[in-house]
């Protein structure tokens, strides 16, 4: 596809998703209480979007990923929360 075709097909949806991200940040900043590691990871991931570097989706996924390499001693639960507490 040409750039024009990509924009024609995906721009409105991407715009919609970006506004949703902005509204999420407004919502969480408006709320009482403290941030946690998830928001810290989220802000770190956002910094991957502005530059000219390629593979932005990969960079965002890496920003949320557990960077360690050894198995953990025991699984405390079954769920993932989307961000790693020690990533940043």
């Amino acid at each position: 596809m040409t750039k024009q075709q990509v924009l024609d097909l995906y721009f409105l949806n991407a715009r919609h998703q970006l506004i949703d991200v902005a509204a999420f940040l407004d919502r969480v900043e408006r709320a009482d209480g403290k941030d946690d590691f998830r928001l810290k990871s989220f802000r770190a991931a956002l910094t991957k979007l502005g530059g000219r570097e390629k593979q932005k989706a990969k960079a965002v996924l890496l920003a949320f990923s557990d960077p360690t390499t050894k198995p953990i001693a025991k699984a405390a639960g079954k769920s993932a929360c989307g961000a790693h507490a020690g990533s940043h």
Partner: protein
């Protein structure tokens, strides 16, 4: 359009879903053994589940003209209990000769714990001993990168395992290259909220090519869409992919991998 759904947990879906999939052009559905959403209390629960996958579910699918195949294992979500895992693994060989069993799966990791890794190694051993295909689940979200690396290490360290007989499922942009570079197949899972959207899956196809790669819905009891594969095919069409290229990804590729089992016949 005809397609193969290579990863769907149909025991959790309604007959309406079978009908919709058949109407959308599905020719066959393949069901890896999975976590039920709760921990089973004994090995007997797994025996019944394996009977369901090999006896009951093929009959349900056949009512809609669909071939049903399955994979057997204990899922990593139930792998913290190693004793139970050993009992379940001991149960599996008696089911391997059943006509719709394609191999061992979906094995893998969930939270990347030592016990999960031990149970993964035991199930790779089982697959090697019985010359079975392997379908691997990679962990969710923040655990995927580390888990994929650990899984690839286990598989590469066992020289009996042929990479072209292994599919590593649920790849995303940060794991797809390491899987394909290792000579294995890569599965992209199309989910409404996590894993891949249709657009991102097609981005990966356009970036990494169409060899050794498939798409699946992995529909189960959670938020998921049994029609995710044909919807992604439609998205490919919108992006100008030709009919032959679409059919390769949604039909020919899964067929090529799965027929290595010797049992996958349409």
């Amino acid at each position: 359009m005809r397609y193969i759904e290579p990863h769907a947990h149909m025991v959790s879906r309604t007959t309406d879903d079978y009908e919709r999939m058949a109407l959308a052009g599905c020719a066959a559905v393949c069901e890896p053994a999975f976590w039920a959403g709760f921990d089973r209390s004994s090995v007997d629960g797994f025996h019944d589940y394996f009977c369901q996958l090999t006896e009951h579910e093929p009959k349900r699918a056949a009512k809609f003209g669909l071939k049903h195949f399955c994979w057997l294992c204990i899922n990593s979500k139930e792998a913290e209990d190693v004793k139970l895992a050993e009992e379940v693994i001991a149960l599996i060989p008696q089911f391997l000769n059943r006509p719709n069993v394609l191999g061992i799966g979906e094995i893998g990791l969930n939270k990347n714990s030592r016990n999960e890794l031990r149970v993964l190694e035991m199930q790779v051993e089982l697959a090697a001993q019985h010359d079975q295909l392997i379908l691997v689940h990679t962990p969710h979200l923040e655990d995927k990168l580390k888990g994929t690396r650990l899984i690839l290490d286990v598989l590469k360290n066992d020289k009996r395992i042929k990479p072209e007989r292994v599919i590593i499922d649920h790849v995303e942009e940060h794991t797809v290259a390491m899987v394909l570079d290792g000579g294995m197949w890569a599965g992209m899972t199309l989910y409404p909220e996590t894993k891949c959207t249709p657009a991102r899956a097609i981005d990966m196809l356009e970036t990494y090519g169409q060899e050794r790669i498939w798409m699946n819905s992995a529909c189960d009891w959670g938020v998921s869409d049994p029609l995710a594969v044909p919807k992604t095919a439609l998205e490919m069409k919108k992006r100008g992919h030709l009919a032959g290229a679409i059919e390769k990804v949604i039909f020919s590729n899964p067929k090529s991998f799965l027929r290595q089992s010797g049992k996958f016949k349409l």
